[in-house]
Symmetry: C2
Subunit: 245 residues, 2 copies
């Protein structure tokens, strides 16, 4: 039973990279549509129907049975009457999912049945993977994202913000180095156990953008090695390009 | 087979509330140890062994088979030699887990077999719940947390930060109101489907702290009602006290 391609709405951003990397690693077929965030393309009504948060990435997996449009038939923001038009390409049934943490977990659960990049549901390692995945999406991503804002994007120079978020970004990579250091004592170079998981791929999306903050991941010896090895994997390299195929 | 009580390391904070609420809702036995974050108690070596990120909440579930100490025998931060002492109460085996998103998902998967507050693994609703749970831990929590910092805790008044995070906090509650509005069209008052889930309980932990920002959740009609109904549930009320029993 051949799988239909997954639709990926994305952009060349750290959060976008996470998903294209993992789709490539899993060898899944997908069609990507790349948005220009600066033009507000993720705030179009048809896209907000797919993701009420109006942000990439979003996947639509047509291989899922069930209505699966989720809230696709709801209204847009605010009072939202009569916005049912402009349905968008994703509105063809299937599972609609946003939030990188949820997308990565869904893809691993569904398409990595041999557990090459995951652990069996219910195992200790399954939840340790989820723990570090959520550390990524709830601390590394948000804090490094705020650092990017204050260092790169803010039209006003706000030293308090620059210092606050650069300091915390570095602290978070200290924590990751600590995790790798503990695992190294067990002979592992991965965040969890004996294989790369979505915890690693999620972090990689953001680690890839550290140069923007003038931070070199090789300042952390184990993270530097981890980064170099991961980015030599051809599938990972393809995912970091986010090819519009 | 009687369950052993789960150990909960926590504090009366939004992230702490999430876990004590859900433990109470599930009717699970637990022993809580309440930390004074302002005194740096979460940065003690024995606690950092449990959670390399040095933050509450953390659970230790002794009912899980396997070594389960996770990295409990690793070193502390930095070079970390010879810090194996001070093992801490959690170091008695069992699953050690941090990050509220991971803890809530673990508790639902493990202790809500009847799916009173969750959906079966692999279902569309399971992943929609995860999507909104991760929206909470990756946007609502971090952004409202930054708003708290700039409005309440920062020693310096930084208008840029105050405005940025108050604005985004409100935008995020707009999104939640939109989600409830779409679901209302399907006859639901919940974030996902026909029951409260960890997506609701996670948001409640932070919604409870909106008064600190002088924001009234009743400014959003559906969220206001959602909040009033949830906070009338006795188990939820107990969880919001975080009783040290």
């Amino acid at each position: 039973m051949a799988l239909l391609p997954i639709k990926l709405y994305t952009a060349p951003t750290p959060n976008g990279f996470k998903i294209s990397i993992f789709l490539e690693v899993l060898g899944l077929k997908y069609d990507s549509q790349i948005f220009d965030i600066s033009k507000g393309e993720t705030k179009q009504n048809w896209f907000v129907e797919l993701n009420p948060n109006g942000r990439i990435p979003v996947i639509v997996d047509p291989n899922v049975k069930g209505e699966g449009k989720g809230e696709g038939e709801g209204e847009g923001k605010g009072e939202g009457e009569g916005e049912g038009e402009g349905k968008g390409e994703g509105d063809n049934g299937g599972l609609v999912l946003s939030q990188t943490g949820a997308i990565l977990q869904y893809l691993a659960d569904t398409y990595d049945k041999e557990h090459k990049y995951s652990y069996p549901f219910g195992s200790i390692e399954y939840y340790k993977t989820l723990e570090y995945l959520i550390f990524q999406v709830s601390e590394n991503g948000p804090i490094q994202g705020q650092a990017n804002h204050f260092v790169v994007f803010a039209k006003e120079k706000v030293p308090y913000g620059i210092n606050r978020y650069l300091t915390d970004t570095k602290r978070i990579y200290d924590v990751y180095e600590d995790i790798l250091s503990r695992n190294k004592n067990n002979g592992s170079k991965y965040l969890v156990g004996d294989r790369y998981t979505i915890a690693d791929f999620a972090l990689l999306g953001w680690a890839f953008r550290l140069p923007r903050l003038n931070i070199d991941i090789h300042s952390w010896p184990l993270l530097g090695k981890w980064f170099d090895e991961l980015t030599q994997i051809p599938a990972v390299q393809r995912g970091l390009i986010v090819p519009p195929h």
